[in-house]
Structure formats: structure tokens, C-alpha cells
Amino acid sequence: MTAVTTVTAVTGVVEPTEQPSDRLFHAVADTITIAQRNLITLRRVPQLLIFSTIQPVIFVLLFRYVFGGAIHVPNVPYVDFLMPGVFAQTVAFGAMNTAIGLAADVNTGLIERFRSLAMARSAVLAGRTLADAVRNVLVVALMATVGFAVGFRVHTNALSLLAALALLVLFGYALSWVFAAVGLAVGQPETAQAAAFPVMAPLVFASSAFVPVSTMPGWLQPFAEHQPLSVVVSASRDLVLGGPTATHVLQALAWCAVILAVAAPLAVRRYRRAA
């Protein structure tokens, strides 16, 4: 499984003898190496995880006990309506970490080192987004626990809840690629954070995450109804509250696919030119 490249020094002719299977093996191994590296950071600086859950926890408390009483949702207790929205908000804001992390790597010159190594070129982004997905799994699990503590109940079954959480993590993964491109483009962690927020805010707040879309002004409703975060929230609600699930889930999966298909090539292009 070694990559051998035969070179004739005089003519400069290179005959790559690396098999496609070796290439795939290296791409996977390098991706895991990078993901491990980013997860070590998570373990060593747990504040990163804690701080990124404080904000959604505050939102849960705020909407559950302060604003929630004023928000009327037909047929379900507000906390059950709220939690899928909070999950989506959490993974969406969590995706900003991808931008901040990659911008920091550009800034310290680590990306330059990676690009000068004979590693798989896809691995830096694939590893980073994989680590962020693992992180999102932890964060979503934590938020679900918080939800149960404040009275959130699943109306369907455990499997549907898992499916909803998996969909949310997938959505976070797709957004990570968007923010990978942003982080590489700006190259400064502080700028990355500042640049990510205005993109994120309308996605999170002009959505069905906290209030029913029907309460919004007419001009906003079409956007708020069909934008990706709302669709993902609707699909998650269908899964945990019951009712027909297929339409929203398929739409949510389609959104994830579209976001990935657009953002991943952009991020890869940015990576090639970064630093």
C-alpha cells in the first residue's frame, strides 16, 4: 500500500505507479488523520464545545419559559414545536466553526504546510467537515438532553427521533462546506465569524424554527417556508411529532444535496488557491 512514483532525474519524466485503490486508501486515511487532529482540539479545549451549547441552551430557556407563552401553535405543546427548531439553529451556528477553524489554519500557515505535503488534496476539507459533524452529533445529543429536561416529548418513537437528529447533522455537514469556502476565502478567524453571522441570521430567524411561518408578513412567508433551514425543521418536526413525513424529508434531503453540490466544489477551489 505504498505510493511509489518513479522519476528519471535527467528527463524529468514521472511515471505515477500509484494504483487507484491506493489513492482512495490514502484519501480516506488522510481524512481520518485530519479529523483526528481536529477532534483532539475539541477534547483539549472543551470550552469550544461548552460555549457553542450555551447559546442554544439560553434560547431553549428563553423560548420555553419567557416568549413561549405568547406563541400559540395549533395541536402541540410549544416546547415540542420548539426543540426541532433549536436543534437546527444549533447545527447551523455550529457550522460557523468550520469557517473559523479553517481561517485559523490559513492564518497559522498550517494550510500551506498541508498543501506542500504529498497528502490527498481532498483530505483537509473532508477531515475538517467530518470532525465538525462528529462535534455536531455531540452537541445535538446534549441539546436533546436539555430538551427532555424542560419537557420536550417525542410523539412518535426513538427511531424517528434518531432519524430527525441524523437529518439535522447531515444539514450541519452540508452547511460546513459552505462555511469552509467562507473561512478559506477570508483567512482570518475574526473576519470569518463576522462574515458568517449575516448569512446565518436570516436563515435561522426568518424560518419556522421558533414561530409558525403563518404569523409572518405575507412577503416573508414564501422565503420562510421554503428556505433550507425551515424545510429541515419541518422534516424533523414531522419525524418527532408524527404525521406524513415523506414530503418534507425528501425536500430536506434535496436541499442538503444541492448545498453540498454547490458548496463543496467552491470550497475545494478555494483550498487550492488558499494561503
Binding site: 505504498t2 505510493a3 512514483t5 522519476v7 528519471t8 532525474a9 535527467v10 528527463t11 524529468g12 514521472v14 505515477p16 490514502h26 486515511a29 488522510d30 488523520t33 485530519i34 483526528q36 487532529r37 483532539i40 482540539t41 483539549r44 479545549v45 490559513v106 492564518n107 497559522t108 500557515g109 498550517l110 500551506e112 504546510r113 498541508f114 498543501r115 506542500s116 505535503l117 504529498a118 497528502m119 483530505a123 477570508v186 483567512g187 482570518q188 488557491r273 494561503a275
Partner: protein, 329 residues
């Protein structure tokens, strides 16, 4: 010696690159024979880092050719990457990983056989005097330790060609000489090194040959000795008890000078061509003129003079330019 030893390890021909309106490289040519150190000397923004980035395959030039060990940098970047090590200006190591974890990560990414990775990391930590700090996160390291780790990371996969981009910038003198010693050892082991620096002393001490670049062009090259004798001059420095004494000495010694002598207060600096000969003439002229200096110093030509002669600037006070602004490209 076979053909490979005779062929230059690094060849750069007519390299051009612009970033927007900024011309970073304006036709750079250079060669580095295998097993030697080339010092790329120049002020910030001269094109040193861009040259390194082309050779390490992270920037594509607009025109020109570059090859490492006979492998074309543009056509076979992956093959080049397997043969080079890079230590940049920024000590590119992960702050949250330990020194050992950083080296293991680079070893894995360079596709070293897994069983040898732990031993290789330990070997490098020992060699770079990082054993005590090996299992501490890098954010607890001093600047010198970070730089040593960065250098170790560049060597993990035993690359035959090394690019060191300002390896001691920002280090205190003691750490700097520590890094110099390590680079010296690498060269003794047969590595080919391209070293960029703003420090003349560094080039003087480490480089077999020096290429001076400014504004993206090569403006001089040769050994340190050659450059000094071509562009530098011995300086006779005489001090008097008063400015009037220095002024009178100026009149007497001007004919010996290769350039206009510099006078500051009661001290006169006379650049001369042939040091010993000129010194004898100078002493005789001063004696005949009845002038007795209070101090007398003869300074050998330095690369500092070379730089001043060639660029009209002092090397270390040069203006920062776009090259150092990360992300500008």
C-alpha cells in the same frame, strides 16, 4: 559520483508571477547544486517567499519553469511534494496538539509506513531537543521551541530538498544560533537547502552561495566572499577628539577612498579597496599631516555593505511589502 549528484537539485528559469497589480516575480533564474545551501537574500516583498511557494507547489507561476530533482513543479506537483520539506515563516504547527502529535500527524500525512512513525517522531524530538516538552500542547512552547518543532515537521519524511523560508525571523539571538546549528547539521547530512532570509549574518553563516533579489529580480549572485569583494569595501574608521580633526583628516584621506568618506561628528569612515595597503597609506598621510586619531578601526566588508550598494537600502530596515500579508493573494 553519478549523474544525479552533478545535476542541480533545484532549477528555476524565468519565473514570473503577479498578484493583481503587484509584480512578485519578474523573471527569476537560479540553480542550487545538490547538497548545497543557497541563500535567497532580499528585503520584504522582494519575491523570496513567492519563489519558495512556486517551488513547493502552492503557487502556480504565470510564466517560467521550475524543477526539483529534475521533476517539473507545474506538471508533477505531487511527485515534487514527496521530495521536499517546507518550514515557513510562521511555524506552521497546531497549537492544541502536543509536539509529538504534530510530528505524528505530519508523518501520517506524508504516508510514512505506520509502524515506523512513533520511532521517527521520538527520534526528531530528541534531535531537536524537545523531549521534555514532547507531550505538552504546543501553545505552551516558546518561539524557539515552536520553530524547532516546525523544522522537525519539515524533516519527518526525510526529504532530500528543504525549503526554509526565513527560519529564524522573530527569534532571539540564542534561539537563532540554535536553529543555525541544526540547519548546519542537516547540510552535513547531505540535504539541499534553499534558505530565504533578511538576515545577512544568517546567509553569511549558512549559505554556500547567495542570490540577492529585489523587486522580483535577481540583482547579484555569488559566494559571500565574492559578493563582498565585488560590492563591499573595507572601511577605515578614524576618530578624533573634535569634528575639526575629522574634517582635516577627510581632506588628507579622500584620495584613498573608493567612495565619498562618511563623516559623523568627530568620526570619519573611509571606504577603501585594498585594506592593508590603504591602511599603511592612511597612517602615513595622517602622520604627514600631523593628525593623531584617538581611535582607529578597520572593518572588513560585510554583506550589509553589499546590500546597501546593490539596493540602496539596509537589509533589516526594509519596508514591509505585500509578500508578508497573508491572504492578500
Amino acid at each position: 559520483m553519478n549523474d544525479r549528484d552533478l545535476a542541480p537539485a533545484i532549477v528555476v528559469e524565468g519565473l514570473r508571477k503577479r498578484f493583481g497589480d503587484v509584480v512578485a516575480l519578474d523573471g527569476i533564474d537560479l540553480e542550487v547544486p545538490a547538497g548545497t545551501v543557497l541563500g535567497l537574500l532580499g528585503p520584504n516583498g522582494a519575491g523570496k517567499t513567492t519563489t519558495v511557494r512556486v517551488l513547493t507547489t502552492t503557487v502556480r507561476p504565470d510564466a517560467g519553469h521550475a524543477s526539483v530533482l529534475g521533476v517539473d513543479v507545474m506538471r508533477h506537483p505531487a511527485a515534487v511534494r514527496a521530495r521536499i520539506g517546507l518550514a515557513g515563516q510562521f511555524a506552521a504547527v497546531d497549537d492544541n496538539l502536543t509536539g509529538r502529535e504534530n510530528l505524528r500527524m505530519v508523518a501520517q500525512l506524508a504516508h510514512l509506513p505506520r509502524p515506523g512513525i512513533a520511532a521517527r517522531a521520538t527520534e526528531l524530538l530528541e534531535r531537536f531537543d524537545l523531549v521534555d516538552a514532547a507531550d505538552r500542547p504546543v501553545r505552551t512552547y516558546s518561539g524557539g521551541m515552536r520553530r524547532r518543532l516546525d523544522l522537525a515537521a519539515a524533516l519527518v519524511h526525510r526529504p532530500p530538498v528543504l525549503f526554509l523560508d526565513e527560519p529564524t525571523t522573530g527569534l532571539d539571538p540564542q534561539s537563532r544560533s540554535g536553529v543555525w546549528e541544526l540547519i548546519g547539521e542537516l547540510v552535513d547530512d547531505g540535504a539541499t537547502v534553499l534558505l530565504t532570509t533578511q538576515y545577512l549574518e544568517e546567509a553569511d553563516r549558512l549559505a554556500h552561495r547567495i542570490v540577492v533579489v529585489d523587486d522580483g529580480r535577481v540583482i547579484a549572485e555569488g559566494t559571500a566572499t565574492e559578493l563582498k569583494s565585488r560590492f563591499g569595501s573595507t572601511v577605515i574608521e578614524v576618530g578624533f577628539s573634535s569634528a575639526a580633526g575629522a574634517l582635516r583628516a577627510h581632506a588628507v584621506l579622500a584620495r584613498l577612498a573608493v567612495r565619498e568618506p562618511e563623516q559623523s561628528d568627530s568620526t570619519l569612515r573611509v571606504p577603501v579597496a585594498d585594506g592593508p595597503r590603504a591602511l599603511m597609506d592612511a597612517l602615513r598621510a595622517l602622520d604627514n599631516g600631523g593628525l593623531a586619531p584617538t581611535t582607529l578601526v578597520v572593518r572588513e566588508p560585510s554583506l550589509d555593505d553589499v546590500f546597501l550598494t546593490l539596493t540602496g537600502r539596509r537589509a533589516e530596515s526594509a519596508e514591509p511589502a505585500p509578500e508578508t500579508t497573508r491572504g492578500a493573494a
